[in-house]
Amino acid sequence: MIAADVTEPRSAPTRWWRSRSLRRFLRNRLALVGVAMIVTLTLACVLGPYLLPFDELYIDLRARFAPPGTGAHIFGTDPLGRDIAARLFQAGQISLLVGFSAMLMSTVFGTLVGVVAGYLGGRIGAALMRVVDAFLSFPSVFLLLSLAAFVSPSPLMITLIIAVTSWMEVARIVEANVRSLRERDFVLAAQMVGLTKRQIMFWELLPNVVGPITVAATLTVARAILLEAYISFLGYGIQPPLPSWGNMLNGAQQYLAQAPWLAIVPGVAIAMAVAGINFIGDGLRDALDARSDQR
């Protein structure tokens, strides 16, 4: 198997819909539930605003704190009488986008740093890992708050700030895995065959750390969505009146007894989104891991 891994040139890729990984993924019921959750949420967020008879920004103080199911307000209204369903879907677009973009940015960057540092080792590796350490030594709250004081809080900036504070863990985990892999036979074999460092890093090592990366990446989406909520909680996040799941949830804690739906609705949306992503990530992990069939 090891020999095959290296010597056999990557044959023309099998058509993706016939790949074993996909089949394995499709066999994973939890993963499918996850996909269904994310698809449903995404569709709701994209189409929802067109289907509802309310504008997410329209304030109507007479209608404030309407409980779910009052008239056409399926999820009720907020302290300014705005329709929560309309806000929820609009907010979902922003929160999901922020969460996924931040995850993509931080995972790509973290993986890159981790693979390079782990494989090359030596001075370059040490230097890279000290940079990782330097970033890790700043508590994320410090970076979040300090950066927020500099930039104007647009969704793009929030995404960048979150990405800046989340890539290090991926890098750290990838580095540790790659470091433990690089003395393995298949890597030594690849070196003997004469593959370049870049090929070894990205064709031989990277596929072998997809598992941990996926696990870390899914946790990062969760983190990103929750961080957005936290920044918005502190008031430096998405600025009103633009809704995000974070800023919807955060005003809500004051009304927990009086209007619990203010906290429950966006809370459930966040939980669904994050759980869905995690289910998918888990399924992907099993599916992508070439060895999981061999047990």
Binding site: G122, A134, L136, S137
Partner: protein, 316 residues
Amino acid sequence: MVRYLLSRCGQSLVLLFLVSLIGFMVLNLAPGGPLSQFALTPGMTKEALDRIAEQMGLNRPLPIQYLDWLWHLIRGDWGVSYRDGRPVLEVIGSHLFATLLLMGTATFFAVLIGASVGIKGALAQGSAFDTTTTVAAMIALSIPTFWFGLVAIYVFSLWLGWLPAGNMYTVGDGSVGDYARHLILPSMVLALVEVAVWSRYMRAATLEVISQDFVRTAKAKGLPPRRVVMKHIVGNALVPMITLAGLQLPTLLGGALVTETVFTWPGMGRLFLDSLGYNDYPVVMGLLMFSAILVLIGNLAADLLAASIDPRIRLD
């Protein structure tokens, strides 16, 4: 080995210097300053603020302020808090115990429960237990901590009246039982998320190990399954866990921040948030350095431990 340690120490000093420089710049270049909190005080004037700034040396050029701070630090003087005038180390020290107590309790339960659940789930991949714990962990990870904390207070303090709504102890009591009662809610809230993290990583790491050749070899050799699990699988799966543990050390500072706020726990997280909010630069800088040192120690310890467990990892 000695050479390795020396070189790591050298790197660490450079790192500390970088952290302090970046931290100082970010703090001081951000608009606003330590005196802005007094702006809305009735009767406060720009004149008074300027005078106080001058007395505090805040209007000196930034490089001078930085070098002044660094010079004092090198001589072991971490400065005094702008807020209450106490030495920075004393301020940090007075919040350390609360955080250690909370984080220690939470982490202890989190690791114990998380690791067992993760291993058990991985060994019985796809079983009802695995599915249930996986789903539970993911849901736990999806709940914002402050929200969960508030719900816990509503249920256990207001509704049932079983546990106190916050604080570390009752003023005037302070017995061990009193501390324990106050500790339950915040540490459980904190542990919930931690359990989820630990069990997810432990499960992934165990799965990784299970599929490797030496485990199959061990099984093929006919070793009793129990021994295979304990010696080969758990032992090897623990390596990445040690890295994770190293990573968790600095979260001492920020990790409990939200929980500390919700439960009015007088720890480091809240000190940090307060100091940042009041632009108490000496304390913030002190906490940054403290946190950086924790990271360095955590990483070094993780690397050394990992190397001593897994002979394939070479220190260089």
